[in-house]
Amino acid sequence: MRISLNWLSDYIRIPFTPDELAERLTMLGLEIDAIERPGERMDKVVVGEVVELTPHPNADKLRLARVSVGAETPLRIVCGAPNVAVGQKVPVALIGADLGEGFIIKKSKIRGETSEGMICSERELGISEKHEGIWVLPRELAVGSNLAVALGLNDTVFEIGITPNRADCLSHIGIAREVRAITGEKLTLPAPTIANIGGALANEVRISLPQPDLCPRYVAKMIRGVTVRPSPEWLQRRLEAVGLRPRNNVVDVTNFVLMECGHPLHAFDFDTVEKGEIVVRTAAGFATEYVTLDGKTRKLPSDALLITDGKKPLGIAGIMGGENSEIRDTTTNVLIESAYFNPSSIRRTAKQMGLSTDASYRFERGTNFDVLMGAAERAAHMIVELGGGEIVEGLIDKYPTALVHKEFKFRPSRADLLLGFAVPRQRMQEVFARLDIELEQMNEDLWELHIPSYRVDLEREEDAIEEIARVVGYDQIPISTFERAPLTGLRDPLKRKEFDEILRSTLLALGAIECVSVPLVSAKDAKNFHEHPVELINPLNEEKDRMRSSIAINLLDAARHNQRFGAQGQRLFETGNVFHYSSSPEALGNVKQGAELGVLITGVQEPKTAYNATSIGADIQMMKGLTEALAARAGIGPLRYEVSSERYLEPNESLGVCAGEIRIGNIGRLSAAVSKEYDLRQNAWIGLFDYELLFQLARNARLKPKQVNPLPKYPSVERDIALVLKSDVTARSVEECIHSASPSKLLQSVRLFDEFRSPEMKTMGERSLALNLVFRSEDRTLEEREVDDLIFLIIKRLESELHARLRV
């Protein structure tokens, strides 16, 4: 909302500088977004009169002007504009004038002739974009006067962000009332004489309101014999200051009244109204489309409220007038509508039609139903003043059922409680008086408040308490140091936040980068990870119309992005909710939502450094390493791997990860098909874990602390063996075989520490595995010979079961 300080000053004295006013209004809840000073560039710009014009001796397109600016001798100014003429009033930038962006007028010579100033165009003065010629000013301006003052441009315009509850502040009088709340100064408001209801007008116009719930009140005035023409300069400037384009005197007056008192009016060409009938009804069964005054043909929702003459629509109530009834240059008889419409109805129609106007913006927020007659009269008088003609005697006020004025109880003690300090009762009364709120004291702590009709936002006690607080000042509320509400919430052994920290800190310590992504994805991407991703009804665009079905989608996007910017290796993770439709009903529809942890590794994981001669790339074993580190830190495990058949993973390079019998996630190499969709140049391994399950397991683990093993009393004996095996003999089967060959409890651990393939082995489809075996007894020191026997048995078993041979 744009508010002109000059205009505002018509209604109340303002004892503040513009900056102070902005600060005071902001602290009252009217946030000033910007302050503009349109006349800023016109400090040294005055009204001049061209008294003489001679050709420039040295240039065809330039002329020498003598311009009187009130001093004894007229100024000599070189001018190139084609439209300059003797007798014109023109804006003259004097020497020293600062036209902005470093353009300062100096005394200069142009092609040998002295120029003592500049005749300006509108653009040069920052008024508009017009630059075809100089700005020819109205004749009545006094020569020598400051241009900004003469045109009312020495103004300050505030851009105010009005919250949706404060419809009453969408006008200059509305803001003036807020200034009064601060200063207590008197308001000076226009008070047009209000004609008697009925009169001659009743013979010309008949109003019917078949749906009084949608249009509870309709006031009309009429002017005959008006001349439609441009508005005077002052009115045009006022409208321009608040961002409206001047059109003609009739439309401008309705806009002026709108910006003055906040009530939207509409003016019809009365000659287009058949038989003087006005019927306010819905579109259902009457019209399906209509050409609005912007020339667009619009579809009408069936419950759209229309102004009609019973035969045809004349406008869309409260939103926009129609082309067929608009004020034209030839219009002479004008019907002014000043009505109150149901806010919800206007909002629904405006939403459905995708049409928001100054009028609908106000009607849908709620307008002041008590101002209708005053606004109509104000407009009628101004139109006659500016366009001639005569007001038809009388006024129509169709108002079947009076709208209710709000009143509610207010307890000063309740305000003390909510605000945390006691505002003196007298101060409270003063605040209410400044806000036009009348009060009746039932007793000392029970008041009844009568709310003015323009305050649509005040409905109950707490609203009034806010009024007290904001006028007295939020800065008056003390700072309490005592704390209400003792610690509540679940006394969990492991809080979600704490668990989250365990996962994050583990992954961060493992050198991973944490990602955060927008969870909106394409259907194609979502379907890679779940068949039934959750769908948006009104997506921002078709490419982002599903909720992510997996964190992997975002991680792959990130990997693609970073690959493009030269990342050699990536190690990424993200946690967040993922979504899909489940066949069983969930808490909300069929939408299954819960958190997932996603990890992605690709490319170089350890670059070549001074300490390692070759770089190390990502692989499935590293993904297992990450998984096991995470599980260990979270207290989950031991882990077990099983076959995984997720479509997005390569079938022979993926594993299901289980804690006991519970499958907590899948790890593996991204399938070639999906990898291709993301244009990944390197293989990517991903791990996707059910965060909710991990959390539950970690919480259970907290409740069942691990019991320690007693420290060994006797020393252990270690042996390394190196085997050559067929490549398809798995490491696990080797370990299992070793364990099965040593039934006693003497074998403590088996650790695979080397894998080796010589070129010869490769051609034979073989590889070598080296294992470290640790033996220990709990009741004695083992002898070398005992261990040798055990090793012999183990090797025999390996030879017979797995066709292994010792590598020599």
Partner: protein, 351 residues
């Protein structure tokens, strides 16, 4: 054999290595060039024929060649790891023990999560529990019980994404679900579940159907707080927020409350903190105002309490809500909110 010949073999082998795409090709390369009968070994054999005075140079070059090619070969082998053809892929032994994850640089915490977690920690120290709720919500929790009337323009403050409640849903069947536009529905779910006293914060992700720009995205993070008890006042709200602000922004910052509007609080206030960059004198970050807008707040609206079965005559309370993204932008001097969601390693590695 001349030095030139050695260097041309080097070029050729390195170029060949680059073109290898599978394990079988790797094997072939190794057999052809790196075994005892391979190209490089046979070049060592040819050293015999090199004139005596050139021998040391050629030997040195050959050794360097072998080292380089073997190094590059191993790199290639580990990179190709499993870029293997279908036939060799089945031979990958998934039961091999896990590899220790090499850590060559510290991990990098996402600035949004860093900011969010620091804020959560401060409120935890102030005795707030942490509560969570669903991102796909219903109208009742996101709007209805928060005192948004069905056709009220306040809904325009929050452009909403609507969600099909099931895969085969048709318009008009049942009310659509939506992506929560704020974390406030978690307040409602908490109050429905638990009687006062309540003191909790609710961090989480929210969604707005708005054009994406440097200042606003479609998904961002909020942290809300809710305190309900007998006798809770705006003075308590001020006390908690001042305590938070001093722990988070610095021990000498000031706060100020300005009247504002939210459907679910009355009275409502925007809370500004004095600019911690310039100390309130005015700078680029605070747009010369000396103040930074950090949180919306107010006393919980009686309609909200009533909707959750709490008697507003007995209990009062306050609520507040931070935008994490804006806070993190101020904190780290990030000028484009989209930087947070690109996951660009060059951005994230700075944290």
């Amino acid at each position: 054999m001349t030095l030139n010949e050695i260097s041309s073999v080097r070029e050729k082998l390195l170029a060949d290595l680059d073109t290898l795409t599978g394990a079988d090709q790797l094997v072939a390369f190794q057999l052809a060039h790196l075994t005892r009968k391979g190209t490089i070994a046979s070049m060592f054999d040819q050293l015999r024929d090199v004139p005596k005075e050139e021998k040391p140079f050629a030997g040195k070059e050959l050794n360097a060649l072998r080292q380089l090619v073997e190094e590059r070969y191993k790199e290639k082998e580990s990179l190709l790891g499993a870029t293997t053809s279908a036939s060799t892929r089945s031979t990958i032994d998934l039961t091999m023990p896990a590899r220790t994850v090499p850590v060559t640089s510290p991990g990098h915490e996402h600035p949004l999560m860093k900011t969010l977690n620091e804020m959560i920690s401060i409120f935890e120290r102030l005795g707030f529990a942490v509560e969570y709720g669903p991102e796909v919500e219903d109208d009742e929790h996101n709007f209805g019980k928060l005192n948004f009337a069905p056709d009220h323009p306040a809904r325009d403050m929050q452009d909403t994404f609507f969600v099909k409640p099931s895969a085969d849903w048709k318009a008009g069947e049942t009310a659509p679900l939506l992506l929560r536009t704020h974390t406030s529905p978690v307040q409602i779910r908490l109050m429905e579940r638990q009687a006062p006293p309540i003191r909790a914060i609710m961090p989480g992700r929210v969604y707005r159907n708005e054009a994406i720009s440097a200042r606003s995205g479609v998904a961002f993070f909020q942290l809300e707080g809710l305190v309900i008890d007998k006798g809770v006042s705006m003075a308590d709200l001020k006390g908690v927020l001042l305590s938070f602000a001093r722990q988070f922004f610095g021990s000498d910052v000031k706060i100020r409350l300005r009247p504002s509007f939210f459907p679910f609080t009355e009275p409502s206030a925007e809370v500004d903190v004095s600019c911690y960059i310039c100390g309130g004198k005015g700078c680029r970050v605070c747009k010369n105002s000396g103040w930074l807008e950090i949180v919306g707040s107010g006393m919980v609206h009686p309609n909200v309490l009533t909707a959750c079965g709490i008697d507003p005559e007995i209990y009062t309370g306050y609520a507040f809500g931070f935008g994490i993204d804006r806070t993190a932008m101020m904190r780290y001097g990030v000028s484009d909110i989209r930087d947070f969601f690109e996951n660009d390693y060059r951005f994230l590695e700075q944290f």
